[in-house]
């Protein structure tokens, strides 16, 4: 026990680091960022396109080659840890470099202009990243939001005469509304076709921009869009800083930089919050996410609206920078371009997305000298990129929840909290009273058919509070369908499910609402969030318990920070239910777990949700006898926590071991109910399992 305590403390406190190591790490970060900037700037300033291609090819070949050296690999590992640990420093360094660019290149306004355009598109790419990278929703009409923001800001600026600083946020809001309108219809029904609906929406917006002359000016576009002004100074005037004259393009550059910083900050804050985890859970497995309290519709709309907001901002900046907008600026090609940026750069990863934007704008710009072969070369380079590095330039790093670095008072606090609720200690909890006659779950006459198949036929059962009910039956008898109906994935044709005190019907409720009522389940076919870490999987399951969502995360309120920390602690405690097995892997992606551990993680999720009603669907499938015995033990521990458990199983020894009462299903109907011994000898049950001529052999005990 003491050993477990020590190890957990280590995990939470993080490995101790010396000052020199810290300095080395920080130095590595700064060096890395400087090299990156150097690379981009050299690439941009090479005179001829031939040199550019050669340069990029050489680097592209050299880097993997170098990577095979042991020394380089060690350095790279070091660099990665440094990057991970010093994220704020990375942002600061990148930002600092960017701020310096106009100053250094004050003699080259063209470069600053390209940089600004890149920034505008990068802003859009970051916006698309919310829906596409984080939530996995394919939006093919992104240009529509860009158009909404551009037109809103341009029209308000030219007709009403509002200042840019007012039209900018309004543009964002207008774009958000468009995002809502675009997503709403399809999300309500089936988002397999989301891509197509958004495609159609984007096309419609472009067409309306072309046709609705009184509003948008039609193909005349909007002319003479005023530049932003700060007091007396207009954005079209060059900036005079001492002896240095910085071209006016720099004003727009800095404006875009500020907006980019906001976008990066928002992405970071939302990602490490309930909302961001919910988005990623949606990307990984929608059904599981919804069964753990994630409201699919609400979260998807939030992803769309957040993303389109940034597109609106980008549109406003674009309009006021060029001074003239026109429907041709908002074609489907623009949507595809932004899509390319996100995917080629590395969906879900902020730096990847930024890299994608740089790639998409800079490469064709650099290949200008190649005359008409430019687009062809671009297509070829994109092909190669997708073929050899489909995860993108900077793929989404395994996001690890940053285990809090040492802070003095916190360690003591943690110890206290850990001491109180320690799942690793067995058998210290008082057993709940089972002799309650009030049922917590009452299922009445549940019927469900799919086309011609009757999956559930008038099934009814009452489950007492704190009881373990076993559900057995041959394959296809409707057991999992029963669970799916209870959790709201299917709607029953008739019948009802009453749950809770006071009793309320679960029928007709969405899965996330049912989860919020305190129902959680595991899945017969594992439904883990494969690319999220073990810890994140558990945190998603806690969605229903967390109060602070979108805005607290964005604004990083104190309440939010505290809640997040507590959530991590609780999650770690839940993981420690299984001793070291999951705890030691808490920062690894769930996909890397062994099979048995995956099953355990499923159970851990259920525990974390603190659901009162627990549905376990064949938890022992594929386990050997030793693991099954351990599982039996675990189920009993869960039981002792006071949960009500419904258990589907084929392993009769497990059922017999834990379930006091058992029901048997066959072809959708309940054919037996009672104690295991009685049900096992029921001839109907035997016939269902073994067939009519199976004889009177009883089921194995």
């Amino acid at each position: 026990m003491a050993e477990v305590d020590y190890q957990r403390r280590q995990l939470l406190a993080g490995t101790p680091r010396s000052t020199s190591r810290l300095l080395a790490e920080r130095g590595a970060v700064l060096l890395g960022v400087a090299v990156l900037y150097g690379f981009i700037l050299v690439a941009l300033s090479l005179d001829s396109a031939r040199h550019f291609i050669v340069f990029v090819s050489v680097v592209g070949v050299a880097v993997p080659l170098l990577g095979q050296w042991r020394l380089v690999q060690v350095l790279r590992g070091f660099g990665r840890t440094a990057l991970r640990r010093h994220q704020p420093l990375v942002s600061f360094a990148v930002l600092g470099g960017a701020v310096a660019v106009p100053l250094v290149f004050s003699g080259n306004p063209y470069l600053i202009h390209v940089g600004t355009i890149t920034g505008v598109f990068a802003l859009m790419a970051l916006g698309l990243n919310f829906a596409l990278g984080l939530a996995g929703l394919l939006d093919l009409g992104y240009a529509a939001y860009f158009a909404a923001g551009a037109y809103a800001s341009a029209l308000l600026g030219t007709t009403v005469g509002l200042s840019f600083w007012m039209t900018l946020p309004l543009a964002g809001i207008a774009a958000s509304v468009f995002g809502l309108v675009a997503a709403w219809p399809s999300l309500r029904v089936n988002d397999r076709y989301l891509a197509l609906v958004t495609l159609g929406f984007g096309a419609i917006v472009e067409l309306l921009a072309r046709n609705v002359r009184p509003v948008t000016g039609g193909t005349d576009g909007v002319l003479n869009i005023p530049p932003p002004t700060l007091g007396v100074y207009s954005f079209l005037d060059p900036i005079l800083v001492g002896p240095l004259t910085i071209p006016f393009q720099a004003s727009f550059f800095y404006l875009v930089l500020v907006l980019l910083a906001v976008a990066v900050l928002a992405t970071g804050r939302l990602t490490n919050s309930r909302t961001g985890r919910a988005w990623e859970a949606i990307r990984e497995d929608q059904i599981a996410a919804s069964c753990f309290g994630v409201s699919l519709l609400k979260l998807k709309l939030m992803a769309f609206m957040t993303g389109s907001f940034f597109a609106g901002l980008a549109g406003a900046v674009f309009a006021h920078m060029i001074g003239f907008i026109h429907p041709d600026n908002f074609t489907f090609s623009v949507s595809l371009g932004v899509l390319c940026m996100v995917i080629a750069g590395g969906a879900g990863n902020v730096w990847g997305v930024l890299a994608g934007a740089v790639f998409y704008i800079v490469v064709p710009e650099r290949l200008r000298e190649f005359d008409h072969l430019r687009l062809l070369l671009f297509g070829v380079s994109l092909l190669l990129l997708m073929r050899f590095r489909p995860q993108g330039v900077f793929p989404s790093l395994r996001r690890r929840v940053e285990l809090a670095p040492e802070r003095p008072g916190l360690v003591a606090e943690r110890e206290r909290v850990l001491g109180l609720a320690d799942f690793a200690r067995d058998g210290d909890r008082a057993t709940r009273e089972l002799a309650e006659t009030t049922a917590v779950v009452e299922i009445v006459g549940l019927t469900k058919s799919f086309g011609g198949l009757l999956a559930l036929n008038d099934v009814g059962v009452r489950v007492a509070r704190g009881e373990i009910l076993g559900i057995i039956g041959p394959n296809g008898s409707g057991k999992t369908t029963l669970f799916n109906v209870i959790t709201g994935l299917y709607r029953p044709d008739c019948g009802d499910i009453w749950y809770g005190t006071p009793r309320k019907s679960l029928v007709g409720r969405a899965p996330h609402e049912i989860a919020a009522r305190g129902v959680a389940r595991t899945f017969q076919t594992l439904r883990l969030f494969a690319n999220l870490t073990v810890l994140e999987n558990v945190l998603v399951a806690m969605t229903v318990r967390l109060k602070r969502g979108y805005w607290p995360a964005l604004l990083r309120t104190r309440g939010f920070v505290r809640e997040e920390e507590q959530a991590v602690e609780q999650a770690l405690e839940v993981l420690s239910f299984f001793g070291q097995r999951l705890l030691s892997m808490c920062n690894e992606p769930a996909a890397s777990l062994s099979y048995a551990n995956r099953r355990r993680l499923e159970i851990a999720r259920v525990l974390a949700s603190e659901a009162e009603l627990v549905l376990l669907d064949e938890p022992a499938a594929g386990m050997n006898p030793a693991e099954t015995a351990e599982l039996m033990h675990d189920i009993e521990r869960i039981h002792r926590l006071g949960r009500t458990i419904l258990l589907i199983e084929h392993d009769m020894s497990l059922i017999q071991g834990v379930a006091r009462r058992v029901i048997a299903l066959d072809h959708g109907s309940k054919i037996a109910e009672g104690r295991f011994e009685d049900v096992a000898e029921n001839p109907l049950v035997i016939e269902a399992y073994l067939g009519r001529r199976g004889g009177a052999r009883a089921l194995p005990r």
């Binding site: 090479l46 005179d47 001829s48 040199h51 050669v54 340069f55 050489v58 070949v61 050299a62 080659l65 170098l66 095979q68 050296w69 003699g107 080259n108 306004p109 063209y110 202009h113 390209v114 355009i117 072309r210 046709n211 039609g218 193909t219 005349d220 576009g221 002319l223 393009q249 674009f318 060029i322 001074g323 003239f324 907008i325 026109h326 041709d328 600026n329 064709p364 710009e365 200008r368 000298e369 005359d371 008409h372 430019r374 687009l375």
Partner: protein, 394 residues
């Protein structure tokens, strides 16, 4: 381990070699002219024709020794019909002190977006195409902007005049969705109405460029018994509409401008083209003084360009001649070249005294009406050089 070192060494060697090579290239001081036109995408054929013609003029001047020991280069610039790229190019060209002149745009929207940039850097630019009047003076104040053909307001006014004078009393207007077509039709409507002929317009509709089959809209128009169908759009759509009209038995004349007046149209529409009317600036090449137009055609062919010079090739060639002579007289200096353009006379294929008026437009503004006959464009009427009235049609 050894293999990796070998590979690494190989890479380093190549990189060093390249670095040496790039350093070894010396920059020769040159005088440059920049282009900023559509070289890729669906209108690439227009842009390429413009670029080639422009280049031809400069190459010829170089071959003649007009620049003495100055080396005049053309900086290739493709804006891919993208406003942001075009503004970027204009900025890039503007900030390069070696560039003393530019040929821009072709697409009206880009002309509108880039003129402030050219003006800011004082880089004289001749607009090729870009017929929307808002891209040119006097509708804006950028003194550096010149045109190599009159803009839409003039073109459409004469088209309206011709239509009214020819007694077309039942006309239908069609345009595509690009601004070029749309603005044309809008101006045509405006002028016809101002001339009191507005009632002749029976209707107006749009077609989607890129589509192939316009039978539905043509079927809709046919029963209206029009005597003229005016379409403003691009070459391919003109050809398709003409062929489909005739197939439907809808045989009234088709009229248009700009994109219509092209060899490609005649080639694709074939015999269907006969009877099509087009208005266009300037004279047919064979009517250029002293056979200069035909000389241009011969020179273009001799130069062996892969693509045709297209509708806007000759004006681009003229622009090239203008810049060549301006540089020859004023030297490699932006301001001086600008002054030359403002005040000078140029010897071009249109004649020895080509000038720009106070709004940067060619003084010679004659608009001609052409009819396609047996696979050729025949001029059937022309205005006076100031484009006030037609010679034949009253």
């Amino acid at each position: 381990m050894i293999r990796t070192s070998c590979r690494f060494g190989f890479v380093v060697a190549i990189a060093t070699l390249l670095a040496l090579v790039s350093v070894a290239e010396t920059q020769s001081k040159a005088c440059k002219l920049a282009t900023n036109i559509v070289m890729t995408g669906q209108w690439a054929s227009m842009g390429i024709g413009i670029y080639n013609s422009f280049k031809l003029a400069i190459d010829q001047a170089t071959a003649r020794g007009d620049f003495k020991d100055m080396k005049v280069e053309i900086v290739y610039g493709d804006n891919a019909a993208d406003t942001a790229q075009a503004v970027g190019l204009a900025t890039r060209h503007g900030q390069d002190p070696e560039i003393v002149g530019a040929l821009c745009c072709w697409i009206s929207g880009i002309g509108i977006a880039t003129h402030p940039t050219y003006n800011r850097y004082g880089l004289p630019v001749i607009l090729a195409g870009s017929n929307d009047s808002r891209s040119s003076r006097p509708l804006h104040n950028s003194k550096v902007v010149f045109r190599n053909s009159p803009y839409d307001l003039i073109n459409m006014k004469m088209a309206a005049t011709y239509i009214r004078a020819s007694k077309f009393n039942r006309i239908y207007l069609l345009s595509d969705t690009w601004p070029f077509g749309r603005t044309q039709v809008q101006y045509l409507q405006k002028f016809l109405t101002e001339m009191g002929h507005g009632a002749a317009i029976l209707g107006y509709d749009t077609i989607t460029p890129g589509e192939k089959d316009f039978s539905p809209i043509l079927t809709k128009i046919k029963p209206l018994n029009v005597d003229l169908l005016y379409f403003a759009g691009m070459v391919v759509e003109y050809a398709l509409i003409r062929q489909q009209m005739l197939k439907l038995g809808f045989t009234v004349p088709l009229m248009g401008s700009g994109g219509l007046f092209s060899e490609t149209y005649l080639k694709i529409a074939g015999p269907a083209a006969d009877g099509t009317l087009a208005t266009y600036w300037g004279l047919p090449l064979e009517m250029y003084p002293e056979g200069r137009g035909l000389q241009f055609e011969r020179d273009y062919k001799a130069a062996g360009f892969k693509d045709h010079y297209e509708t806007f090739g000759p004006p681009a060639y003229i622009a090239g001649q203008v810049f060549a002579q301006a540089i020859k007289r004023a030297g490699c200096d932006r301001q001086k070249v600008l002054k030359e353009l403002q005040t000078g006379e140029f010897d071009t294929i249109l004649g020895p005294r080509f000038r720009f008026d106070e709004n940067g437009m060619p003084e010679f503004k004659a608009i001609a009406v052409y009819r396609a006959e047996q696979g050729q464009w025949k001029m059937i009427d022309v205005t006076d050089p100031q484009a006030t009235r037609f010679e034949k049609t009253r």
